[in-house]
């Protein structure tokens, strides 16, 4: 290395150091390293596995091209799981966003014991999904569960809930809405509180009623928050697993089988790692596509006053 080059490198390093940029990289290095090891590397490995027949214990990897993907699309169990996942997402995302907004609007006003009720609605969010699902499994029990006890009290017939292939998926959706409601409420509340009150004052002076103010001020100015909630909830809903595994294990009759559960079974019960990797890649591409679409489409609804 020539003297001039050494001098310039030293100058660059000194500048970086003086701006603490090197220090910043040093501090974030452990996170980047861990992210790389536990997220990036397994993702790349999954992509590679999806093109192979993987026999881990025999240490044998046979390249089969797109065979895993073609088997996947021909597999009726996978198609059923994909349909169930789509039904789940299309139901839970709008409902939990809507209910979250309703609660946030209510909590944006002052009333007695507001903080207590806010904590009550948020508490499912901080509970372990598995633990909560175990409790709900008992609540759904056709013989001893509290839901059927309450139905009987009001003179309605008992329901099979998780034991019925028609009711099992809606039962899981109800649980998931209960679980996520608090999070959406808090995010919307933050969005509501960021709206400057002058807009409402000006609208009131101009004679706008409550509904009109909600429609023309609140909803448009909450568009970025709504976008975030829809994207976040969609990504999370596409990856649903815990509650399905605990409540129904995908049954009865595969009526609650979802993509991630099917992937889990293929990988860890049938040891078809290549096939499971293909499922994971398809899910990843689908989620990415939906997220991009939502993001692009939602831009048109954002306003600035």
């Amino acid at each position: 290395m020539t003297r001039a080059r050494r001098r310039s490198l030293r100058q660059v390093l000194t500048r970086l150091s003086s701006r603490h940029i090197l220090h910043a990289y040093f501090f974030i290095a452990p996170v980047i390293l861990l992210f790389g090891i536990f997220r990036v590397v397994p993702s790349i490995q999954t992509l590679l596995y999806s093109f192979y027949k993987v026999e881990l214990l025999r240490n044998r990897f046979t390249f089969i091209g797109l065979e895993n993907f073609s088997d996947l699309f021909a597999d009726e169990i996978f198609r059923g799981a994909a349909l169930n996942t789509l039904k789940y997402v299309l139901t839970i995302v709008p409902i939990s966003a809507f209910l979250g907004l309703v609660l946030a609007v209510m909590f944006n006003t002052k009333f007695h014991l507001k903080e207590f009720f806010k904590a009550v609605y948020f508490s499912p969010m901080v509970t372990s999904t598995v633990a909560a699902a175990m409790v709900w499994w008992w609540m759904y029990n056709p013989q001893f569960g509290i839901f059927n006890v309450l139905l009987k009290l009001v003179g309605l017939p008992s329901q099979p809930w998780l034991m019925s292939s028609r009711m099992a998926l809606p039962s899981i959706i109800i649980f998931s809405i209960w679980k996520n409601l608090g999070y959406n409420m808090i995010i919307y509340l933050a969005g509501l509180q960021a709206i400057p009150p002058q807009f409402y004052e000006a609208a009131t002076i101009d004679g706008a009623g409550g509904l009109s103010r909600f429609r023309h001020i609140t909803i448009p100015l909450l568009a970025p928050t709504t976008t975030f909630i829809l994207i976040y909830n969609s990504i999370s809903a596409f990856q649903v697993f815990d509650q399905v595994f605990v409540l129904t294990s995908g049954g009865p009759a595969n009526s609650t089988n979802v993509v991630v559960l099917d992937l889990y079974r293929q990988a860890f019960q049938r040891f078809n790692f290549g096939y499971a990797a293909a499922e994971a890649m398809v899910l990843f591409l689908f989620i990415m596509g939906v997220t991009i679409l939502q993001y692009v489409y939602s831009k048109r609804f954002e306003v600035a006053y």
Partner: protein
């Protein structure tokens, strides 16, 4: 002694002391023997010496992985510290039993094998063996030992032990898991039925179930005549309906001893009849319902009068969960008079992974545990059925009614197919059963779909 003055004298060359003294003074090194150093050195020695001693006399530790909880129904009491005492003393080893959760143990074992860090002995469900063999996880038993075992045990145990042409992958547990029909004798008396005579045919079975069913004031079933499994893992659903499927002539895989290849044979008249039986009990007789959970739990809670499942499980759970339950057990009903009652004969098996650290010791331990003497001792202690023919000639097995009733079930004993694709077959059949009983599909359509999926699984596993 004034060191400083002496030092100066030495440097200046003016010290008049003899040279030896000068050297002694100059090069005198005093290692400060502080109390802290003494303490540290003593502690270090105290730690090092015993570990050297331990290393010299250390025992090999064989780990045995088994499913904890009720799943093995107490037949194999791995928490008993005396179970391996004699073997440990003779061979200077320690056997450490490690409990795993049954629902996740298959994948944990696989992951451990992939990491080359698996237990030396695995106590697993029979149904795991096909998948483990397919992945090359297991070490086969020596041919000579397998031959000796197969020659000495009961024919039904031979059926469970052999994986084609005299090959064995492990020792089936003592006290094989025999499935049987169990019934509540008090319910039978209430309904005017003989409490010691279970239904013999499907027609009788339907009649009994109708008489035993109870309803509340609103007409909702509060007690079913027969509780059946229709949710949860596919293998559980298929196991609990095996008696009707195989009894009516349906076969999960033919030939049943084919490790690779073969085809499914349950989409036939027998398979349809087996599924239609329960469907008619739900829709026509209304003597059972989809609203009842696990049949064993329902039976023990007294909200089911009959059920069919692992006998050892009921025997282990009844004293704790239903101490007052007066119950009977026997073979399941047959489709028509003259048929032989078919019962599933399965359970757990001791296997040794290929990558076990102490493979030879593990096999030695299993040979010892499964010797004729230990078989007799443990079966007598745990009221379990022995595997060796010779042990059936000894008391209490020879004349106790309980054991003789169990033995009477053996002629109809059928084991699960050993095919490498059997996991996929079971999933397909389990889903078909659920779809038919949940009215998601007709029996014909459900079985046709299951046949397609099952044959696909068999073909894929054969590659």
């Amino acid at each position: 002694m004034n060191f400083r003055a002496d030092e100066e004298g030495i440097r200046n060359g003016k010290d008049s002391r003899p040279r030896s003294q000068c050297f002694g003074h100059r090069h005198e090194r005093r290692i400060p023997v502080r109390p802290t150093n003494v303490l540290v050195m003593t502690l270090a020695l105290l730690l090092i010496i015993p570990s050297l001693g331990l290393a010299a006399a250390s025992k090999a530790t064989i780990t045995l992985w088994y499913p904890g909880g009720d799943i093995t129904a107490g037949v194999n009491d791995f928490v008993d510290p005396n179970l391996w005492a004699e073997f440990e003393a003779k061979n200077n080893v320690k056997v450490e039993a490690v409990a795993l959760d049954y629902d996740t143990m298959k994948q944990k074992m696989f992951a451990a094998a992939a990491a080359k860090n698996i237990g030396d002995i695995l106590f697993v469900d029979d149904t795991f063996v096909a998948a483990f063999v397919k992945e090359g996880l297991l070490d086969p038993m020596e041919d000579s030992k397998a031959k000796a075992w197969l020659a000495a045990v009961m024919p039904e145990i031979k059926l469970r032990s052999e994986y084609g042409k005299g090959k064995m992958w492990g020792y089936p547990q003592y006290g094989g898991d025999t499935y049987a029909l169990t019934w509540n004798k008090e319910h039978f008396k209430e309904a005017g039925l003989d409490p010691d005579k279970p239904p013999k045919t499907w027609a009788e079975f339907r009649e009994y179930a109708k008489k035993l069913t109870k309803r509340d004031a609103q007409g909702v079933i509060s007690r079913v005549g027969y509780a059946f499994r229709h949710v949860g893992a596919a293998s559980g659903i298929v196991h609990k309906h095996f008696w009707a499927l195989e009894g009516a002539g349906a076969r999960l895989v033919v030939p049943p001893d084919a490790l690779r290849g073969g085809k499914s044979a349950f989409n036939n008249e027998g398979g349809k009849a087996a599924l239609q039986l329960i469907l008619d009990m739900i829709d026509v007789d209304k003597s059972t319902s989809l609203s009842f959970p696990d049949p064993r739990a329902a039976f023990l809670k007294g909200i089911a009068s009959m059920q069919y499942s692992e006998l050892v499980s009921i025997k282990a759970r009844q004293p704790k969960e239903a101490p007052d339950l007066n119950w009977g057990f026997g073979p399941p009903p047959v489709r028509k008079p003259g048929d032989v009652p078919v019962t599933l004969f399965g359970g757990f098996i001791f296997v040794v992974p290929k990558d076990a650290q102490h493979k030879a010791l593990a096999w030695k331990a299993l040979e010892w545990l499964n010797s004729p003497e230990k078989d007799y001792e443990l079966c007598k202690k745990n009221e379990a059925t022995p595997r060796y023919r010779a042990n059936w000639e000894k008391e209490p097995f020879k004349s106790t009614p309980y054991f003789q009733t169990l033995k009477a079930l053996y002629p109809g004993a059928v084991v699960f197919p050993i095919n490498l694709g059997s996991d996929g077959v079971v999933e397909a059949v389990g889903a078909a059963i659920q779809k038919a009983w949940h009215h998601e599909a007709s029996v014909e359509a459900a079985l046709a779909e299951a046949e397609r999926l099952a044959n696909k699984a068999i073909a894929e596993a054969a590659k």
